[in-house]
Symmetry: D3
Subunit: 162 residues, 6 copies
């Protein structure tokens, strides 16, 4: 005779069923940022970082990471991506300078691509950290958030102006 | 006759040589956080999130991601890890509540494990996002930063009190 | 002049052509099990295993492994999955106790998801083994088998009662 | 003011610290098996399986999977492997025939390689299943278990004769 | 106030948008080759290579690599594959012998599968190299090229006779 | 009673035992090349390729692939790498232009890093192919070969001058 597992019967992790959802065009924009001290910042801007081209490497890392999202995030559905890109903007400050990261991902599928865009933005930032950490241990990543989401049953989402 | 590539000869990406470094015991603590609206927060605390146990899933995702760091971060050296853990603390707020994430990684190797700890903390936060995004699209991840680093030629690092 | 390779012309591995198959809804249930000695069993039930929550971790490992099936099984076709879940039942015995594992996977595609379900069930069991092996080296995994299969040209399959 | 997370403070998953362990020579043998109906069995023996050489493919899948163990098993430590092999024995029966699988893995490290050997044996069996499933849906994998373990603080382990 | 990043605004890596393309049947054939000294060649032909069956292993490695193409090639779109195969032909020479490799990949998708076929052919050749390198360090891989491509907006492509 | 598997007892694939080898400093240089038509070549040189910076992307792809070598090449031992770099030289021709690729990899381990260097060079070339294939379908990759190898029991190897 078999006995049901009791302490475990609620709150079980599941990759939820999306078979009832429509395969439609979906895209998402996620934002992140990282602050750099002046030395680290100048290395990036002047191309003197000893690990090489920081923004080019970080952008590629982000794009490649978007394709690994369903391996990294346990309950995320695998999706074929149609487009992925990462853009940068610099905001100079007094003693620290901010690299603004914007990741865009697009697909046609049954679930949205927020996680793909957020993963791309996060790994882009982590890669900048890795390349600049010899010059600055005080870098701060984030805030990281969803900026915009198009498609899917929940409709259009645009984060309010801060 | 061969001509050197000119426009590309500076700033080339490289996985730098660490063969001259000592293989010593190294560890790192990275911090991240994510803010949740009350609905999403209560789902996590009460175990009613439809994808299952949020903190348990996110912790595992972070630990597993620490082992993928050198695949995700292009110029990061592969390292065998000796320990990885993720801890949480809640900070309740007025309308939004903050989950503080602390990731610890330890190895014996020629390079530090900051990136492994930062990757663990980031993927932990991303997993919380994935599991709660049906309830809250305004979650914000970060700040994400290095809290402490032990071992290696640059010695002990502890981030100043905020 | 070229000569055909002879000793190798038969029995060559191939990822067979599925382009002629219909992309239809398909699902599969696979079963596995693992036996634990009383000490290991009590650690799982009472939450005192030193590696943490055994069933929660094993379930997630199984779900995540289902997404890696086509990387692990050489001639398996890659498939986007729509749902994956793992359930447990305990059967207490005299000296050893059996954890019954049931893995469910669903997709819409040109091939079935038996391998995804079997991989999920197997990796779930392997994870229980990993977490309990300090307490019990005599654990036995299996039998592991296909319980049910829905969709595809071969139609409905349900394993006979044992 | 911060409040500790309560419902989650016990039983947290952790990749436990192995830094205090000796890096010594370690090896393990794991066993699994799979039963095949006569048709499927003859395809394997006669080299007429439409996916190709079943045992050669399954053996390679097992060896390759041993190298992915720490990616698949969440709390398993990454280890460089020094040797991996998979051997087969056939046991013919009345209506079903059993393929016995034996996987051997060796390393020099701080943790044992049971999980690598068990993963190799399991993925070998799963690959046989994948290649023969068009001919037989009643294949059964297992029992899968640790046969022998050499090295490490727990010393030599040899499973008792069945 | 934010300032645009200047030195980085051109030539940014992007996974280009394929959402406007038709999902049609596509296939590709890629060719590669590797030359072996007589000793290494005889090991392959006679089955005496100490790492085992060279062509069987190399074929599987190529097929499996085709499924990893979008992880390896940074700006390649992920595609579910419908078929993958690798074929060999030997061309005996005076002192060195050439193994001709032909990889075929097929899908239904929005982009072609040239890269999948080229990756399969390349990894097949690299695996032969790995298995024979104890006997011959002068092996040469290539030329590696696209032989044929079917489907997609650019139409049929067949490389001119050499 | 068990019967040994006969048709499979020779030529079995194995990841051979390297436990008897010394862990010493080892490095390798591999070379590859790819030829481009003038249009494709000018896109690379002038930074007008629609997928972005070709050489920067290809270099990173090669470095990252070197870290995946033991996943791609079935019987290759996993190795932690200490350094990886990729360099380029252009050789202009009449109608086609050759990009010469040189990949360097270094480790301290029990096996050499030829395969890591060859994999890096190959994936670098494949990435150039991917980014230029819209402009040129006649690109040819290779010859790809080992140029130099330092360390290990077989001693120093330097390919003869061409």
């Amino acid at each position: 005779m078999k006995e049901l597992s009791h302490f475990d019967e609620n709150n079980n992790a599941i990759m939820v069923d999306v078979s009832g959802k429509q395969a439609t065009s979906r895209s998402a924009v996620a934002k992140s940022s990282i602050t750099l001290a002046t030395d680290a910042y100048e290395q990036v801007r002047e191309g003197t970082n000893k690990k090489g081209d920081v923004l080019g490497t970080a952008r590629l890392a982000g794009i490649m990471a978007s394709k690994q999202t369903s391996s990294l995030i346990p309950l995320c559905h695998p999706l074929p991506l149609q487009k992925a890109s990462v853009d940068f903007e610099w905001e100079e400050g007094e003693s620290r300078h901010t690299l603004h990261i914007s990741a865009f991902v697009k697909t046609s599928g049954q679930t949205g691509v927020e996680m793909e865009a957020l993963t791309a933005a996060s790994v882009t930032a982590l890669t900048v950290y890795d390349m600049c950490k010899a010059a600055d241990k005080y870098m701060v990543i984030g805030p990281t958030f969803l900026e915009e989401k198009i498609g899917g049953s929940s409709g259009y989402f645009k984060r309010d102006a801060e």
